[in-house]
């Protein structure tokens, strides 16, 4: 019996025997599956991140324009000039403002999707949110530039309503104003909220979907009025979704340079600064040090979000 079983095994084709060889060694299966993607992520991605950190400790010789490959802190000293600190502050403020605004706008939408929409409507709404999330980011920014331009739709629309005065008044405001909506912080803010809104809607919706209907009914049964149920049951349960969404909105705003370039004025944001250091100044160490800052900010943000359970909502 044993002999025939073995004999049959030896006669099988080589591929079959190779399959069996691998199958009977679970660690080998795991190594073959995990090896390539792990190698890619570790070597290419994490390796790059490491090189970024290393690079930030190099410095640029101001006379020759060559990168000196010695570890110093001088690049970080360059980083902490008042002008640069202002850039960090400006970017972080914008990111925070955008995240909050996106959360406020996204919540009702997500709530409607999760609670009231029929199956069909939900699928349609889902797609409506999904599309802008995946596609044509640059085109969307570009479209807003046209919309907000001096001669664009907003001006025309307000003109038609005889409200030009309001727009002018808003644009005359310090800090957020500017020569036109397409060259102002206000315009930037609107566009940021617009392009990142889907990233906020989906996690909130996912979190709300996970709140079982029976839980809300239970709260109602126990005598809570709808407002209380919302505040004490729905909101805390949706919070991980909001946090997960804010990871995206915050992070994306921190690192973006397209919107500031298209709609900003001469006050730089982190993304622009990094781009200009690599592009024109060729000061890669300084650019690297510049990005270490949002990396650290995001690192803390991610750890905090993880503590609060945002990862389940991703």
């Amino acid at each position: 019996m044993q002999a025939t079983a073995l004999g049959a095994r030896l006669q099988r084709p080589a591929l079959h025997r190779l399959g069996t060889f691998i199958y009977l060694r679970p660690w080998l299966v795991l190594a073959l599956l995990l090896g390539p993607p792990l190698l890619w992520m570790v070597v290419i991605y994490l390796g790059s991140l490491a090189s970024l950190v290393v690079q930030s400790f190099y410095f640029l010789d101001p006379f020759t324009g060559q990168v000196i490959r010695k570890l110093t802190l001088s690049t970080y000293a360059d980083l902490l000039t008042p002008a640069n600190l202002e850039i960090f502050q400006r970017t972080a403020l914008m990111a925070a403002a955008v995240s909050i605004a996106a959360a406020i706008l996204a919540f009702p939408w997500a709530y409607y999707m999760a609670r009231y929409a029929s199956r069909r409507a939900k699928a349609a709404l889902y797609l409506a949110v999904l599309l802008p999330l995946w596609s044509s980011y640059l085109v969307r920014v570009y479209a807003w530039r046209l919309i907000l331009a001096k001669e664009g739709i907003v001006t025309w629309f307000l003109g038609a309503l005889h409200l030009e005065g309001v727009l002018d008044a808003v644009l005359r405001l310090p800090v957020i104003g500017g020569p036109s909506l397409s060259v102002s912080f206000l315009g930037m803010f609107i566009v940021f909220v617009y392009v990142w809104l889907p990233y906020m809607i989906l996690p909130i919706q996912a979190a709300l979907e996970r709140v079982p209907k029976s839980l809300l009914e239970a709260s109602g049964d126990l005598g809570a009025r709808p407002g209380r149920t919302f505040r004490h049951v729905t909101l805390p349960l949706a919070l991980p979704g909001v946090l997960a969404g804010s990871i995206f909105t915050f992070s994306l705003t921190l690192g973006d340079f397209v919107v500031p370039y298209s709609l900003g004025n001469s006050s730089y944001f982190i993304g622009q600064a990094v781009l200009s250091f690599t592009g024109t100044a060729f000061n890669i160490p300084l650019a690297a040090a510049f990005t270490v800052v949002p990396m650290v900010i995001m690192g803390f943000y991610l750890i905090g979000a993880r503590e609060l359970g945002a990862f389940e909502a991703l």
Binding site: G19, Y45, L46, S48, V54, S135, V139, R140, L254, G255
Partner: protein, 245 residues
Amino acid sequence: MLFLHAPIAVIFLYAFTTDDAIFSFPPPGLTVDWFRVTLNRADVWQALGLSLRVALVATLVAILLGTLAAAAVYRGKFFGREAISFALVLPIALPGIVSGIALRSAIGIINVPFSFWTIVIGHATFCMVVVFNNVLARFRRTGRSQIEASMDLGGNPFQTFRYVVLPAIATALLAGGMLAFALSFDEIVVTTFTAGQQQTLPIWMFSQLTKPRQRPVTNVVAVFVVALTTIPILLANRLTERTVE
């Protein structure tokens, strides 16, 4: 809803305007002339070609690696299983500029020249997670017993993959692949740092934002980009929807 989708309609409208410099609204007149002009622009064709090739290769790499990673995570508990999902999501969770400058600095340190492949590597890295998520979700829904049933009936690991696993995840692969394609075709932030002097279509568009040569051509290209990214996403959505039912 309007807020999310109206801007795209504006681009469509402007692609037909007769205005060629300042884009006043409403447009003074409509024409299809700009489509003809765009078709004759060699730089547009070149950028489009590069974008398509990059997206295609990056998608293939992402499909291969993302699927392997999904299979590994699905298959068993091992040390650091959570870390894999975390590492894969990093490239899209971290600011794009971080990934971009990181790759740029690695390219600088090991001194490789910018090329088609530097762009592809960057794109494949952030596309992987899309395929990974899609395929992992499918694996979880399919369950283990179909694989066991195939082996039980005599299918060796390769036959089981060919006749059972592949058909089960085919639509997930396709859906993930299309999302990855759209993501890659549209990407600008990371590409800016890994492309050197080459221009993908988004980079070409970005350069037109700051130094426009013929603005209406940009509009036409924008319409084209919208189409090329929207269609695969719609298809991917259909694919995943149908298999859920």
